[in-house]
């Protein structure tokens, strides 16, 4: 039992190093960038004294290295500071944004993997014209930019159909709603951003699953399974799909950063109150505390997702388990 624990510890350490690297790089880039949050804070025609006073109050007049160490210490201790642009505590801002993004990404991950696996399995097992038609569909879905697909869905379902809302995560009257009407309001607001991310996700997953299935179908053990008289359905279910899904789990981990990136654009289109929108706004306003905390949190989430995918993979595929010494 020593080897798995040591392996997990090594992976966790590597993950921590990545998060630390991301945070450090972000800090350097932010401070290299022209402009600072003070310029927006002090109004249109500040005197040099006002600028200097504001910078001093925020600690921006200290050496960059000192600012970095101070930020790292405070962040690790749980003091994430206040947003320069809005004055709100960063923890409160992210406390609203993180669940919103996780809801969107989590649901779209679930739906696009379920549907994508079904489509890919059908393509590989049925073949022929069905496969061709579905291949054309999935390659097109895969090529759709999220922000554009989002706009097209808004055009169809909001402006023409007048069925679904296009902006935000809740209606203006959400605070007055309760019970079912609140759930319906949430779901109606979720529908278009979720559909955008999921449609694109299905394209990618189905393409990958189809490939993985075809690879397994060519293996000798599949021929053996057929030869010993198993029904095609049993061969598919027991031998092909199980083996084909192993690389799909790796994909799950790998696609997390991509999905997060996609969410940045989709959130921008739908005004979804998540991490992506928060990050875009904060970078543009040079809101240092928000950018730093949002980057640290998103990098941590991505790293954690990869660790979970790794662990699932080892659990699914005994061949990947570390061998015991001397065995």
């Amino acid at each position: 039992m020593v080897a798995p624990v040591a392996g997990a510890a090594r992976r966790a350490a590597a993950g921590l190093a990545v998060v630390l690297g991301v945070v450090t790089l972000t800090f350097c880039l932010l401070h290299l960038a022209p402009g600072d949050p003070v310029e927006r804070l002090v109004g249109p025609a500040p005197t040099p004294e006002q600028l200097a006073a504001a910078r001093h109050a925020l600690g921006l007049d200290r050496p960059v290295a000192a600012q970095y160490v101070a930020w790292l210490g405070r962040f690790a201790a749980g003091d994430w500071g206040r947003s320069v642009a809005t004055g709100r505590p960063v923890r409160a801002l992210l406390g609203e944004a993180v669940p919103a993004t996780l809801e969107l990404i989590g649901l779209s991950l679930l739906l696009s993997y379920l549907l994508g696996i079904v489509v890919g399995v059908v393509q590989a097992t049925v073949g022929g014209r069905v496969d061709t038609a579905l291949s054309i569909t999935t390659v097109t879905l895969f090529a759709l930019p999220g922000y554009w697909l989002g706009l097209m869905l808004v055009m169809a379902f909001t402006y023409w159909g007048r069925w679904l809302p296009a902006f935000g995560a809740a209606g203006l009257d959400a605070a007055a709603l309760s019970g079912w009407s609140l759930v319906v309001d949430r779901l109606r607001h979720l529908a278009l951003p979720l559909a955008t991310l999921t449609l694109i996700g299905i394209g990618g997953t189905a393409r990958f699953v189809r490939g993985a299935m075809l690879d397994v179908l060519g293996q000798p053990f599949v021929r053996t399974a057929h030869a010993k008289g198993l029904s095609p359905f049993a061969v598919s279910r027991r031998h092909v799909i199980r083996n084909a899904l192993v690389p799909v789990v790796t994909l799950l981990g790998l696609s997390l950063p991509a999905l997060f990136s996609g969410a940045v654009f989709v959130e921008a289109v739908f005004a979804w109150p998540g991490m992506g929108r928060q990050l875009v706004e904060a970078v543009q306003a040079r809101d240092y505390p928000v950018v730093m905390a949002a980057t640290a949190v998103s990098a941590t989430l991505v790293v954690l997702g990869n660790l979970v995918a790794d662990a699932t993979l080892t659990w699914l595929d005994p061949r990947l388990r570390p061998r015991r010494q001397g065995a």
Partner: protein
């Protein structure tokens, strides 16, 4: 090559790309006017596709809110989008091949450092990096090329590293080493030419991604700046007029999807033709 010609995906993808490249090159001839040309704005804005305006000018794809011809902007935008996309991929290939080849050929601590760097860069959320880098300087097409190139070389470095290591133990390399040929020369003359296949495939797929990311950055206002047309900033400007002039955002999006599909199909077909053993493995991580 003959296998490629028999592959419908390759034929279709290559034809679409050739058509778009030709359109971009011939932009001044076929656009029917400058992409920034404006006449009487109030009279010529928001004209529907296939309309002829009061000056007798035909607008095949209509006009935008400043009365500019959408077709002309689309064709000139193709120059920016294709140019930025291919230059960015070229930059990632140069960086990726350099890192991957050195790591694969020299080994030891050099390999450790370079592979660690690659893994680290792969783990960075690309869009966060893009946002930060794009905010560093005034947005421009050149900046987008550099930013996309700097954030896109990692998968190529890994591919090349794997190929170089696999080729490095082959007899012809051992033979060259035994003859006293330097490692740099072996790499350049014997290994790299043999390792280029996956790089070409990754490049073809990468151009589609890069075009999509360029459009995404321009959409967020961090890429190519109006009035210079790019497909991304056209979609962004069409967003505000989605209700009364949906064609402004639709046209560049359709063009973008066509080009990305063409790149993907061509990449798939080239891979299948060159490496039958890698058949059907589609990359599923995408930028946005």
């Amino acid at each position: 090559m003959s296998r490629l010609l028999r592959d419908r995906r390759a034929v279709w993808g290559a034809s679409v790309l050739a058509l778009v490249v030709l359109t971009a090159v011939a932009a001044p001839v076929i656009s029917g006017g400058a992409p920034t040309a404006q006449h009487d704005i109030v009279a010529t804005r928001f004209l529907a596709p296939l309309a002829t305006d009061a000056h007798g000018v035909f607008h095949p794809l209509g006009t935008d809110r400043f009365g500019r011809d959408v077709w002309a902007r689309l064709v000139y935008g193709a120059r920016i989008s294709l140019g930025v996309g291919s230059l960015a991929v070229l930059l990632s290939i140069v960086l990726g091949v350099a890192v991957g080849a050195v790591a694969g050929m020299w080994g030891g601590p050099v390999r450790g450092v370079l592979l660690g760097l690659t893994d680290f860069a792969l783990a960075l959320p690309r869009v966060v990096l893009l946002l930060l880098l794009a905010a560093l300087w005034r947005p421009s097409a050149a900046l987008v090329v550099v930013v996309l190139g700097l954030t896109g070389w990692m998968s190529i470095a890994r591919l090349v590293h794997g190929e170089v290591r696999a080729l490095g133990v082959r007899p012809f390399v051992e033979g060259a080493l035994a003859l006293g040929v330097g490692r740099g020369r072996i790499l350049w003359r014997h290994i790299l030419p043999n390792a280029l296949t996956p790089v070409i495939i990754a490049g073809a797929l990468g151009v589609g991604n890069a075009i999509m990311l360029e459009a995404g950055l321009s959409f967020l206002g961090l890429g190519v700046q109006p009035p210079t047309p790019s497909w991304g900033n056209m979609i962004a400007s069409g967003r505000d007029t989605l209700v009364n002039a949906p064609w402004v955002a639709t046209a560049p999006g359709v063009a973008l999807v066509l080009v990305v599909v063409a790149c993907t199909l061509l990449g798939d077909a080239v891979r299948d033709a060159l490496e039958p053993t890698m058949r059907s493995r589609a990359p599923a991580a995408r930028p946005l």
